[in-house]
């Protein structure tokens, strides 16, 4: 079968790989119908995530048709068209029982800080991902969800990560009616967080980025204010000024480890890998939020030794909330939002590229060419 294959930083290709097999009685094999490149795949592509092994197949956003099921799978049958959450979760451990499917304790032996994720390095369990014609799906009774018959498959594939992560980013912000919410990063997750923030009743939603076409897209899609930080002397001062010098009620970091905007952070975090990536967006979030405010983080960061502004977190009494999205927990609510027309996930899709041209697709997204927002790969 055809599959994306990682060969090193900024180098990927498609190869002919052996078909995945049932390795556990609760596995399923899914024939991929749609798969996406996520902004967090770029951290792998750029060589920022430790234990990303040559030969791996990325891809944690995909839909597909069930091709084969293991003997203990009860909820799926061959032929079902499913959307597959990016988390691999057993559904039984104490974290899954709390609905924290992103923190499953039985899917990743290689690390305790994160649960298993499709195609996201051996730090996230060493599973091959969905940027392939077929994929092995462990715990098939838990994650995969049959796509409702009236749902557009393009909407469904974005429900595997982008929509739930954006929604949870807003949810973790504890947004109250009348709040001002600032979102750092106008990538697909940031745009979705801005759109979903409105579900919680704020008075203002502001998005900050440095690429004009993404800001324009965000303004139209998420109905929010959009500003380019490169046009500001200091984004933190700007945000204080625009919030009566108090700071925002809620700040959301949708950028993670590859932030632009601070030379020292860029050098120490992205070039020299001396810390968990450039923590610029996180710094700005902590420093732009009001005293007693909430900072929500869904941006991906690397290993420890980050220059987190812990002093300011303490002094300002900030509540910090962060997690990988627990997709399965949020799906009932989000499917309802999509079916009722309140949310239009497929509106994010700007490019469709054949899986065979995966190296071009990664470069397009990585270099932000051709006004790309979200790319769907079609096997």
């Amino acid at each position: 079968m055809l599959a994306m294959n990682y060969r090193g930083p900024y180098r990927v290709r498609t190869v002919d790989k052996p078909m995945p097999e049932i390795l556990h009685p609760e596995d399923a094999i899914v024939k991929v119908t749609r798969t996406c490149i996520c902004g967090s795949d770029l951290h792998l592509y750029h060589g920022m995530v430790p234990d990303t092994r040559v030969g791996s197949t990325f891809g944690h956003e995909f839909t597909g048709i069930v091709e084969e099921v293991g003997p203990l799978v009860k909820n799926l049958k061959v032929g079902d068209h499913v959307l597959v959450p990016f988390n691999i979760a057993c559904g039984k451990c104490n974290f899954c029982k709390q609905g924290l499917y992103g923190n499953c304790h039985e899917s990743n032996p290689m690390a305790t800080a994160v649960g298993g994720i499709f195609g996201y390095s051996h730090t996230a369990g060493g599973f091959d991902g969905g940027q392939a014609e077929y994929v092995r799906v462990p715990y098939a009774d838990v994650g995969p969800t049959v796509i409702p018959p009236d749902m557009d498959p393009d909407d469904a594939v974005l429900l595997t990560d982008v929509v739930p992560t954006g929604y949870q980013a807003a949810e973790m912000g504890g947004i109250k009616e009348g709040d001002t919410v600032v979102i750092f990063g106008a990538g697909p997750i940031g745009i979705m967080a801005a759109r979903c923030a409105w579900f919680f009743g704020p008075a203002r939603v502001i998005i900050i980025d440095h690429i004009d076409y993404r800001l324009e897209f965000a303004k139209n899609y998420a109905k929010c204010e959009a500003y380019n930080f490169k046009e500001m002397a200091d984004p933190v001062v700007f945000l204080k000024q625009t919030t009566d010098w108090y700071g925002a009620d809620v700040c959301i970091d949708c950028v993670g480890c590859e932030a632009e905007g601070n030379t020292l952070q860029t050098f120490s975090g992205r070039v020299a890998l001396m810390q968990a990536g450039a923590a610029t967006a996180f710094q700005w979030a902590v420093n732009s939020v009001k005293k007693g405010g909430i900072v929500s983080v869904v941006g991906v960061y690397g290993p420890p030794f980050n220059l987190a502004p812990i002093g300011n977190i303490v002094n300002k009494g900030i509540t910090l909330r962060a997690n990988q999205a627990s997709v399965k927990r949020l799906l009932p609510k989000l499917i309802d939002h999509v079916q009722s027309g309140r949310l239009n996930p497929k509106g994010l899709i700007t490019h469709r590229i054949p899986l065979a041209e995966v190296s071009d697709a990664y470069r397009l997204f990585s270099s932000k060419l051709d006004n790309v927002i979200k790319t769907v790969l079609v096997p």
Partner: protein
């Protein structure tokens, strides 16, 4: 402080709880009150087919895991060392990043052994970069060519 068994009777307890903003809403079906955190029914154990490195912050392997790209060669040796140290340590993460870089060279050697010459232009997606961002691409190629030329010149002069 003594554990207050009657904490639910504390005036005001839980009155501001907002289920819509509770991290585990709406599928939470466990509260922790049953003190049964670790006594859950585990799935069957996936059978080993390849070498799996396990975090030393957990007692055993998980019930399922990925079996792709098992550790091998020099990068595998470095990864085995890394996994002797916890996720809290530089000694875990820095060797893994080093192993990733070594693994890239191993990948090139593997390609060569299989008679495959990697198409760098295609694998790096330079076609779309040239198509949509020719100025940057030409600048990159020029700088790269100059660096390579300078390096070769330096080596030749050194040998003389």
């Amino acid at each position: 402080m003594k554990n207050n068994q009657d904490y639910k009777n504390i005036p005001g307890w839980g009155m501001d709880a907002d289920p819509e903003n509770e991290p585990t809403y709406p599928i939470k079906n466990w509260t922790g009150d049953d003190h049964n955190r670790t006594n859950y029914e585990r799935s069957e154990q996936q059978q080993d087919t390849v070498e799996i490195l396990i975090s030393n912050e957990r007692p055993a392997i998980t019930r399922v895991y990925g079996n792709t790209a098992p550790p091998s060669g020099l990068s595998g040796m470095i990864r085995r060392y890394a996994f002797k140290n916890s996720e809290d340590r530089y000694r875990h993460w820095i060797p893994l990043i080093l192993a990733d870089r070594v693994n890239v060279i191993e990948g090139l050697v593997e390609d060569a052994l299989h008679g495959h010459l990697p198409n760098m232009f295609k694998e790096r997606g330079w076609k779309v970069e040239m198509q949509h961002n020719p100025k940057k691409m030409i600048a990159k190629l020029t700088i790269g060519s100059l660096l390579v030329t300078a390096g070769i010149t330096w080596l030749i002069r050194r040998q003389k």
